[in-house]
């Protein structure tokens, strides 16, 4: 069963297109995350699904039912917002009980249910407080509790954690995932934080400028990005995106990519595939963790470079090197105890199967 299905949805404010033909579906019980930079249309898309805004064209199905013309209440969804959305004059208990009471639940039954929900969210001690007496994290817990009380077909969450500070964000993130798993409620979650998306999602959709660039399981997007944008947006530290051109010659032809200060030979099959696009500009992406760095010349093909910068991270060190002493910087992840210092000459080895080629103009995947 499909809980949420979005078909070719377009939306514009005046002449500005905000959503341009977005299509995807969230199977029942799954946790899907829409990821994208601010202004990419992800929140608008969520609001369209909630019924808070109307689409220009396209279809939105919730629980198999066409929802385009349904008012928010009949869509049977619950929403958690980024900012302050609790009812300020009601205490925590009344806030969580609100969806129950408004549907005519008796006070006692509602109170009991609220206490259960409060327990799973560890906010039982706050029930008598007013929203303004709560911290940001507590407020969001209450907002989540209110959404749970609604017992909806789907949760819609609009950056619910982005107003919180980092440690709290990580903690609530785990809790959110646990709660979603326990309840098994279909969830669509919007964020600009790729780490949050990777941690939570069964499926990630990356949005940019109103277009859904890629939608699928996190590992698929991570290992096989369909565009340079996706490759750059997912993963921390960011993938290296390098401008290169293809060089071929010889009999049988030997292929190599030529970048700023380096030349790297690639297998013939890959070379042939790339060759069809060689006329246009190419970009290649390679993740910092997929480059091998050594202090001595290794066996086989390698690129010589100079260390420009060394940044120790918690688990690794992020080293910026300049191939051939040129200006282009490539980031490489090395072990914490590796002996690297600025100015040192090093050798890089690339696994050509981890390279992704993109059209420099459109950003689309070539190979």
């Amino acid at each position: 069963m499909v809980a949420i299905r979005v078909e070719d949805v377009w939306k514009s404010y005046g002449d500005d297109a905000v959503l341009e033909g977005v299509t995807f579906e969230v199977p029942d019980g799954e946790f899907a995350v829409l990821l994208g930079p601010s202004g990419c249309g992800k929140t608008t898309l969520l609001r369209c699904i909630a019924g808070l805004e109307k689409v220009r064209s396209g279809r939105i199905y919730i629980g198999g039912e066409l929802a385009n013309d349904l008012p928010p209440v009949e869509r049977d969804i619950a929403m958690v917002f980024q900012g302050f959305s609790l009812f300020p004059t009601m205490d925590v208990l009344e806030n969580i009980a609100f969806p129950l009471r408004i549907r005519g639940a008796a006070r006692q039954a509602a109170d009991e249910r609220v206490r259960e929900i409060a327990k799973t969210l560890s906010i039982e001690h706050l029930l008598e407080k007013l929203p303004k007496e709560l911290s940001g994290g507590e407020q969001q817990r209450v907002a989540i509790g209110r959404a749970i009380a609604r017992q909806p077909k789907a949760f819609l969450m609009d950056e619910p954690l982005s107003n919180l500070d980092a440690p709290l964000r990580a903690q609530l993130r785990s809790e959110l995932k646990r709660i979603q798993r326990d309840l098994g409620v279909t969830t669509l979650y919007v964020t600009h934080d790729q780490a949050e998306a990777l941690a939570l999602a069964d499926k990630i959709g990356v949005l940019n400028r109103g277009t859904l660039l890629q939608y699928g399981p996190p590992q698929d997007l991570f290992q096989a990005p369909s565009s340079a944008f996706v490759a750059r947006f997912l993963g921390d530290p960011q993938a290296n995106i390098l401008n290169v051109s293809l060089r071929s010659g010889g009999q049988p032809p030997a292929y190599a990519i030529v970048g700023d200060g380096f030349t790297l030979s690639i297998p013939e099959a890959l070379g042939r595939a790339v060759e069809r696009h060689a006329g246009r500009g190419l970009q290649v992406s390679i993740r910092p963790e997929e480059i091998a760095l050594s202090a001595a010349p290794p066996q086989g093909d390698s690129v010589q470079a100079t260390v420009a910068l060394d940044e120790p991270l918690t688990l690794y060190r992020l080293v910026t090197v300049r191939p051939g002493g040129g200006p282009a910087g490539i980031k490489v992840l090395v072990a914490k105890d590796a002996r690297v210092e600025a100015g040192q000459g090093v050798w890089l080895r690339f696994d050509s199967s981890k390279l992704h080629f993109f059209d420099r103009e459109t950003g689309r995947l070539v190979v």
Binding site: R47, G51, P72, M79, S85, F87, K132, R146
Partner: protein, 304 residues
């Protein structure tokens, strides 16, 4: 000429003196500004006790009010005029009239204004901005434009000198203010609170009654009492549309109190001032009563 003028090792004392003289000037200006606002009230309240301040300034016991000689008798403090206003000139009756008229008109204005303010603030209907500005235009028009047609028609349909008639006319006058104030309060509710209400409520009506109304309640109280004071003090419509039965205090004060007064009596400034003070008291009392709500009401937006 200070002795340390030339080789001043410490310019501090000089600067300090300048600061304090500037501060003194500030106090003088402040006192003048306060007097400027409250002078009429002071004169009025004192004159009601028969205390005429004019001789203090002119040195004569006879003052000229608009060219007519007026002998106040100097300074003879006495509550006589207040008691006279209350017990002889029918002042309590006029207070009651004002109260009833203001109450009816505020009830109608709020009954219409709360839903209209909500709709203008929130519901996206074609032409809502036009409606909002038409209301404002109505308010901008001179009251005379409204009064003449009302005066002409009220007599023939039996509304002249009746509570409902006057109240209805007053309501027209304050409705624009009421709607615009309430619209502001409704707009101050954060968008995400509205969104949450929309998602969780079963209808827009519930969003209005279960969420929005509770949030703007202080604003509703402030608006009602503010409008009450406006109607209480309103003169032109009351003067035109009230007769002996419904005369309000604002009119009564001006006409020299009551129908019994003749030409000479109409210059009974002491009565008039005593009455004015009495009429002023309820308005001030209301404003004082809502001053906590005023602050709360006007800061709804920040009431997180």
């Amino acid at each position: 000429m200070g002795e340390g003028d030339g080789d001043a090792p410490g310019p501090a004392p000089g600067r300090r003196r300048r600061v304090s003289s500037r501060r003194a000037l500030l106090y003088v200006v402040a006192v003048l500004a306060v007097l400027n606002s409250f002078w009429p009230l002071v004169v009025m309240a004192l004159a009601g006790y028969g205390i005429d301040l004019a001789p203090l300034f002119s040195g004569k016991a006879v003052s000229y009010v608009a060219g007519v000689p007026f002998y106040s008798g100097g300074i003879f403090p006495s509550p006589y005029y207040y008691l006279f206003s209350i017990f002889v000139l029918g002042f309590p009756r006029m207070m009651l009239n004002s109260f009833v008229i203001a109450s009816i008109s505020i009830a109608i204005a709020m009954g219409v204004g709360v839903p209209v303010g909500y709709i203008l603030a929130r519901v996206d209907i074609r032409g809502r901005t036009l409606v909002a500005y038409l209301l404002l235009a109505l308010r901008a028009a001179s009251p005379f434009i409204v009064i003449v047609p009302l005066f002409v028609t009220y007599s023939s349909i039996g509304l002249y000198d009746t509570y409902p008639g006057v109240a209805l006319a007053e309501e027209m006058l304050v409705l624009a203010v009421v709607v615009w104030m309430l619209k502001g309060f409704f707009e101050d509710i954060p968008r995400e609170v509205y969104d949450a209400a929309t998602v969780f409520c079963k209808s827009e009506w519930q969003v209005f009654t279960r969420v929005a109304m509770r949030l703007v309640l202080p604003g509703v109280v402030v608006t009602a009492l503010f409008a009450f004071v406006l109607v209480w003090n309103e003169f032109l419509i009351s003067e035109t549309l009230t007769g002996a039965a419904t005369k309000t205090v604002a009119v009564g004060v001006w006409s020299g109190i009551g129908e019994t007064t003749g030409v000479v009596k109409s210059f009974g400034w002491d009565d008039l001032n005593a009455a004015g003070t009495l009429a002023f008291v309820p308005a001030v009392a209301v404003m004082l009563a809502i001053r906590r709500y005023l602050a709360r009401g006007f800061s709804l937006g920040q009431a997180r």
